[in-house]
């Protein structure tokens, strides 16, 4: 974890804090799907800041919510959807190790032993807790109840201080092609303006005598369309998506099959997709 630049560390922290914009969040999601150590850094921040959730009041959702969840997981079993992007994590550690039990007990002991230290920081914490009461209790939906110092600025002020949105480069779309629940194998990047796509190989290599072929699958098209064989190098770039509507390009599923060496001879896929994914919108940093 020491190898990460301060930019990366701050990116992970702000992802967890929640202040990144949609494009930056998509980038972090992609980074997490290809970089285990970066994922670990994000999880460490989630663990640290997650303590703040203890202060959030519980609210019961309506009973219908559970009905919908139950219906959805019933379907998901039959359809085995592709879940992505999915952080690449260690598989579930054996429960027999019962690590949290140990952690929990030590926590209790430490809590008792540290009573004195706690008293010394109590003043600071109480001040923060008071600020939290204000924000949690009334800050959300009743800004009118807040004291002036924490009340949101009025709409008139808002218009004055809001800077014009910075011009952005053309949108980039990224798809992580992976096995269901497994690690990523290819990262597909599409430039919206040029419709050029680039496939970056991050995992699998084709067996000798066979080739990986990329397909575009859309419910708007009668059958999968080949986007060509993925080369053996780390990157394969092609302008082939120019022939498709933007809507099809954005909503399609991108899948990789194993074909005979050199690709499918008849334009149809000959294996079930072994890696698949959909595009998510991301924007390259404007810096």
């Amino acid at each position: 974890m020491m190898a990460y630049s301060e930019d990366h560390i701050a990116l992970a922290a702000e992802y967890v804090l929640g202040t990144l914009d949609a494009g930056e969040r998509a980038q972090v999601d992609t980074m997490m799907s290809v970089d285990k150590n970066f994922t670990a850094m994000v999880l460490a921040w989630e663990q640290k800041l997650g303590a703040l959730n203890q202060m959030v009041g519980s609210v019961e959702p309506r009973a219908e919510v559970w009905e919908k969840i139950r219906a959805a997981i019933g379907q998901s079993e039959q359809q085995a959807p592709i879940v992505l992007p999915q952080p690449e994590l260690e598989p579930f550690a054996p429960v027999a190790e019962a690590a949290p039990v140990v952690a929990d007990t030590s926590n209790v002991i430490r809590l008792a032993a540290n009573a004195r230290r706690w008293r010394t920081i109590a003043t600071v914490t109480s001040a923060i807790a008071a600020a939290l009461v204000v924000m949690i209790g009334v800050g959300v939906s009743r800004p009118d109840l807040l004291p002036g110092g924490v009340r949101p600025a009025s709409k008139t002020q808002v218009a004055e201080v809001k800077p014009a949105p910075a011009p952005r480069p053309s949108a980039q779309y990224v798809a992580v092609l992976q096995k269901d629940g497994g690690g990523p194998a290819f990262i597909l990047t599409v430039d919206e303006a040029t419709r050029n796509f680039t496939v970056r190989k991050v995992g699998a290599s084709a067996e000798p005598g066979s080739s990986f072929e990329l397909w575009l699958i859309s419910d708007k098209l009668p059958k999968p369309r080949s986007l060509g064989v993925i080369g053996n190098g780390d990157f394969t770039s092609r302008p082939l998506l120019t022939g498709y509507d933007a809507d099809i390009v954005k909503s399609a599923t991108y899948a990789v099959t194993v074909e005979q060496s050199g690709g499918s001879p008849d334009g149809n896929p000959h294996s079930t997709p072994i890696f698949a994914g959909k595009l998510i919108e991301t924007v390259p940093p404007a810096r």
Binding site: A22, K48, A51, M55, F92, I128, A129, G181
Partner: protein, 181 residues
């Protein structure tokens, strides 16, 4: 409330496709997760959608949960909270605050802030947050609890977005140093 160890057991069972365990896991955690996302989304309908998606994701990725890396409730709350933040960031052009339904959320009952209920982790974190300047404390907590964007924070603190960006970054690096992360 179930203990963290019990939650870990339930997630392990869910990873094997145990629907009864999933229902128990939902019952034990739904109100906390719903409270977290409702605070960010401020609309019952959006919060319900996010909670549904979050629990479907929890069902699908229970096998990826690593108890050595995350506590079960933080892992679950992070899935829900990340989804909620994604939703508000994508909706940022429409102001959620002005929707009338947002007011109904006020029925929320904050948990008591009794010190004995705070974990050691929370105390330590608050100690570090408390070392920031008062404005930065508010900045960080509003960002975390309410899911405010840099633009919203800039409005509130009457500062340019780039300045808020710098404050946020510096605050997080200060917290990192204080926590020894």
């Amino acid at each position: 409330m179930l203990t963290p160890a019990e939650l870990v057991w339930l997630i392990a069972a869910v990873a094997k496709g145990d629907q009864a365990a999933f229902e128990r896991l939902y019952a034990a955690t739904r109100a906390k997760l719903f409270g977290v996302v409702l605070r960010i989304l401020r609309r019952q309908d959006l919060a319900e959608e996010v909670i549904q998606e979050a629990y479907v994701k929890i069902w699908n990725s229970a096998g990826l949960f690593n108890p050595g890396q995350s506590s079960p409730i933080t892992w679950m709350a992070s899935i829900a909270r990340n989804r909620a933040i994604d939703v508000v960031r994508k909706r940022s052009e429409t102001s959620i605050e002005e929707e009338p339904a947002a007011m109904e959320v006020a029925a929320d009952t904050p948990d008591p802030l009794a010190r004995r209920e705070m974990t050691e982790d929370l105390k330590r974190l608050l100690e570090c947050v408390g070392q920031l300047e008062p404005d930065r404390q508010k900045l960080v907590l509003l960002a975390y609890y309410n899911g405010w964007s840099r633009e919203q924070l800039a409005e509130k603190f009457a500062a340019p977005v780039n300045t808020v960006k710098t404050w946020l970054r510096r605050s997080m690096m200060d917290i990192r140093e204080c926590l020894g992360l």
